[in-house]
């Protein structure tokens, strides 16, 4: 895809950061309000969609290091989710060992929901990385098509 005009690029530059902040807000408040890890991660993944629509895949692929999305976001989110789940294992898997009952002030920085808060953040990080990787790899697929000729397609209806 080619880069679009200056107006679209400036608008996407501004609104991409707003979508990232909004997605983070949905993730962080996901334990007590509508939304959560998956929804906020899907909103935060629109950041890379804005950049790809505005600047085209060639320039964005020169900026983005996909190992960051793969290792830092995807695997860190999955690992922290499963570690948080295993930390409750002396009682049971997924045991909410940080939760405080209603009406009791929570001890330090943890909210009353306990591990649900941290698991929501872990799922948000994971979904952000995974959906951004999906979009980036689809765009790389276009460039593979346009740069090298394809073979004759077999077994297709049309």
């Amino acid at each position: 895809m080619n880069p679009l005009s200056l107006i679209v690029r400036v608008g996407c530059d501004i609104f991409a950061w707003f979508m990232l902040v909004f997605g983070t807000n949905v993730i962080i408040h996901g334990y007590m309000s509508p939304g959560g890890g998956f929804q906020g991660g899907a909103i935060a993944a629109t950041f890379i969609v804005f950049l790809l629509v505005a600047y085209g895949s060639r320039r964005v692929h020169s900026w983005v290091n996909e190992g960051i999305y793969d290792v830092l976001f995807d695997e860190l989110g999955l690992l922290s989710f499963i570690i948080l789940a295993f930390l409750g294992l002396p009682t049971s898997f997924f045991f909410n060992y940080l939760a405080t009952p209603l009406g009791v002030a929570s001890p330090w920085f943890t909210p009353g929901a306990g591990t649900i808060f941290f698991m929501s953040i872990a799922v948000g990080i994971e979904v952000t990385g995974a959906l951004s990787l999906v979009i980036l790899n689809m765009h790389r697929g276009i460039r593979l098509f346009s740069e090298s000729p394809m073979e004759e397609e077999l077994g297709h209806d049309r």
């Binding site: 895809m1 949905v26 509508p34 939304g35 959560g36 998956f38 929804q39 899907a42 909103i43 993944a45 629109t46 969609v49 790809l52 629509v53 959906l131 999906v134 979009i135 689809m138 765009h139 697929g141 276009i142 098509f145 346009s146 000729p149 394809m150 004759e152 049309r158």
Partner: protein, 87 residues
């Protein structure tokens, strides 16, 4: 009041779903699918499921539309390279 709005949203759902099937251009059809998905998010919100509405708006209107448009563009470049004159 809420009944009127509910009926209007349902009629919008039917109309946008009709246009998804009726439009010949694939990109226009994908945009109509995004409108369908956004209206469906409003319908979920009216039915008091705001959690599902956020997921539907984010996935259906933003991410799946871009995935469809990327796939349509990739197919058109393949057809151009192979010299298939069909549009």
């Amino acid at each position: 009041m809420i009944d009127l709005m509910h009926t209007a949203v349902l009629i919008m759902l039917l109309l946008s779903a009709f246009f998804v099937l009726w439009l010949k251009e694939l990109i226009a059809s994908a945009i109509a699918l995004a409108a369908f998905s956004l209206t469906l998010a409003v319908e979920f919100y009216i039915l008091q499921a705001p959690d599902v509405a956020i997921a539907e708006a984010a996935i259906g209107a933003a991410l799946s539309t871009t995935i469809f448009i990327i796939a349509i563009r990739a197919c058109s470049t393949v057809r151009k390279i192979q010299g298939d004159g069909r549009k």
